[in-house]
Symmetry: C2
Subunit: 223 residues, 2 copies
Amino acid sequence: MQTQTAERTSFQPKGIPGRGIQLTETMNLPGFVMEFARNEEIFGEEEPADFVYKVISGTVRTVRILSDGRRQVAAFLLAGEVFGVEHGELHRFSAEAVSDCKVALVRRSAVEKAAELSSRAARELWSLATCDLVRLQDHMLLLGRKNANERVGAFLLDMSQRTKGGDTVELAMSRTDIADYLGLTIETVSRTLTQMERDRAIALPTCRHILLRNRAALARLDS
Amino acid sequence: MQTQTAERTSFQPKGIPGRGIQLTETMNLPGFVMEFARNEEIFGEEEPADFVYKVISGTVRTVRILSDGRRQVAAFLLAGEVFGVEHGELHRFSAEAVSDCKVALVRRSAVEKAAELSSRAARELWSLATCDLVRLQDHMLLLGRKNANERVGAFLLDMSQRTKGGDTVELAMSRTDIADYLGLTIETVSRTLTQMERDRAIALPTCRHILLRNRAALARLDS
DNA sequence: CGTTGCATTGAAATCCCTCAAGCGAGGTGG
DNA sequence: CCACCTCGCTTGAGGGATTTCAATGCAACG
């Protein structure tokens, strides 16, 4: 899970240094791009939150872990999405590469200065946070009150919408990641998907490649 | 549950109109105070989010409901806490008075203008959102990965800390509210509290009045 | 061709939910 | 004042959804 992050400590711009990173619509700030291999840690819990991150390509997960190893995936971040924005000085969760991916880093101080200078930037920064809030609230309802079928159904519909692949969903993440995101076990996720296939709601050409055959049936599980 | 909110539609300042509402440290904006009776709705899901709210006294809950009636309490807001800040034009959840309470209202437009004019205000507004994020992330871990004991234990410790009542916790909310907050049933909450009392971790002089006798035992349940 | 890392499947166990009854405090009316 | 009701909380018994434990399948890789 945690491979070396030693290279991080040197902070060598891996991309085009000084080139602007389009963090939000109007915030174009200096930064650099780094690549992370599958399962590599991007930052760890309790580490200083000196950067703000944006996924360029690939998929990232944010994770919280209990002392006994129980794990909760807080979010999956797809290309174009921003993460690592924190309230305090430290990260409250860790971030890891689900697949090999490219991530843009912008100094937090630069982001804060931009927000200081431009109310438009400040508003966009606030918008990032409140977008996250909306997502988290929905997810809280899912974790607190939905059963396994509803959780998996909502997950597939959400991924389908976000990846814009029509009825085809390419999952970058493993069953374990999905389970930890949905508050289930890997076995329950697997069984639920199998059952959905039997019910002709989906097709599973391969385990990472899912075809939505009956969105209505999946949506019916939702509120 | 939903008593009349008709009086809301007139928006008569109930407090000292024009007097500043201390929304955050530096944001002192014109607004007014309203009182809500126990279980009265403060605003509803899908209603225009024209105001930002701050609890003056009493306790408020924010709620999301599934079509079949399943309910998730997203948060309990205590005196001094701000709620109703939204990403879009509409509220994504409803807010109700847990107990009789006083709530200050500030026009959203006023808040946005303040954030426009002062980067300090903008930063504080952002801070409100990210504070919520931290809380929601913790709660997500609770809902996704903790068992009934851990959930109730964490809830008691959290309430104890926030109400600053030492080892005494006065619960403003019913078992139903607690259950819907923790993603459990009312019966499980009740049984868990009873068991904690048997284990001498807490005492229950009355059902709304809880004494923490062994914080370590409660905390041990946490990560 | 064995190994390794997921994913699937089955059987048994468990935790929590559901259903149902009882209890106690508070309010109301006779 | 007491009977009566209501509402919220507690308690019990039984059941069910999900987890746990264990085995198997399967594709990728050296």
